[in-house]
Symmetry: C2
Subunit: 230 residues, 2 copies
Amino acid sequence: MANSQTTSDEMALVVLSGGQDSTTCLYWAIDRFGAANVSTISFDYGQRHKIELECAARIAKHASVSNACLPINTFASLGGDALTDRRIAVDSQISAQGGLPNTFVPGRNLVFLTLAAAYAYQRGIDHLVTGVAQTDYSGYPDCREGTIRALQQTLRAGMESTVSIHTPLMHLSKKETVELAVQLGALPALALTHTCYNGKRPPCGECPACELRAKGFAEAGIEDPLLKTQ
Amino acid sequence: MANSQTTSDEMALVVLSGGQDSTTCLYWAIDRFGAANVSTISFDYGQRHKIELECAARIAKHASVSNACLPINTFASLGGDALTDRRIAVDSQISAQGGLPNTFVPGRNLVFLTLAAAYAYQRGIDHLVTGVAQTDYSGYPDCREGTIRALQQTLRAGMESTVSIHTPLMHLSKKETVELAVQLGALPALALTHTCYNGKRPPCGECPACELRAKGFAEAGIEDPLLKTQ
């Protein structure tokens, strides 16, 4: 949420899921802070498709930045409990999103960002970058600007830090995100990303995630490099 | 942080570590919401002494409330990384607290409470209760009132919920916490708690945690039931 100018020796940590949005954010961070000051973090939280983590590692290597992967085994327990207990809240989120794993938990991004902040704090990194967006496609309340602003305040108070959470895509449409990726020279890296809910490579082209991605590229008048490589 | 009156059918989730403070909070919650509306959650995060989790389960059983235990394997990776990487921040916190496990991470309580909030959300529970306090002994910024207030706002925004975080001990001294436990009839349950940093039963009596506990009971003029049972 911070708009302050940064000096070249400040460091940034990008939460890298291996998807299109976080990869675009990585290149935004490299553009702003310099590759030497940027590192990435991914979370192995029981996602349905481990290919996301492989993509994240490959993208980081392509961009010449480090990639740490932290395990989180809690979501699986939370999701599992929910499914055997009171399943209404979880199920409605699954169906509304058309294919989320049953390890989805409300406020998941809050956990990711809090753990990323702890990791960053231990390394003297003051800038977190995340690809959350409240436009176009994300119905998640933990992706909205108000939530991220409140979380930044919580992290600053709770860690006595001056951490800033940057959300370069917050108000961009998918089309604008593609255009930003082009501007930042991120297009070759987008060939390495993973989007498909069905975990397919080449992508299935039919799931909501593939459709949304295709729509963004089509509206931007850009060919998706992921499809070109297949 | 909420002061609103609650009706008898509202439910509360107590973050139960197995220690004196969270056990007192459990009895505070039972007093306020009724035992039938109270449940507890504990976290198996790689703490040095697993006996804490056994105590939490035993205390919940004693109080006739349920106890769920969620695993968190992330802190061990974070702690481990810190010790092999930049150890300054972590070490200073360890030494200041006289014996924390090396799995301590900054903002740890934020993660606990966020996961507890996710668990509560899935079950329609609107009240979280935690034993954090900013008086007397806790130097942790993630235990302070301002942090908890910011976190409550973050959780409400990030989960579109009306969750309230209750912190009955926030401004109490250890002496006052003991007095509250007596008022609430929690003294027998305190015999089941674990405090000692050295993981000993009977407690070592010499570590900072044992000393602090002893001081609270002495100032309140109450005999510690944990010592009576040895």
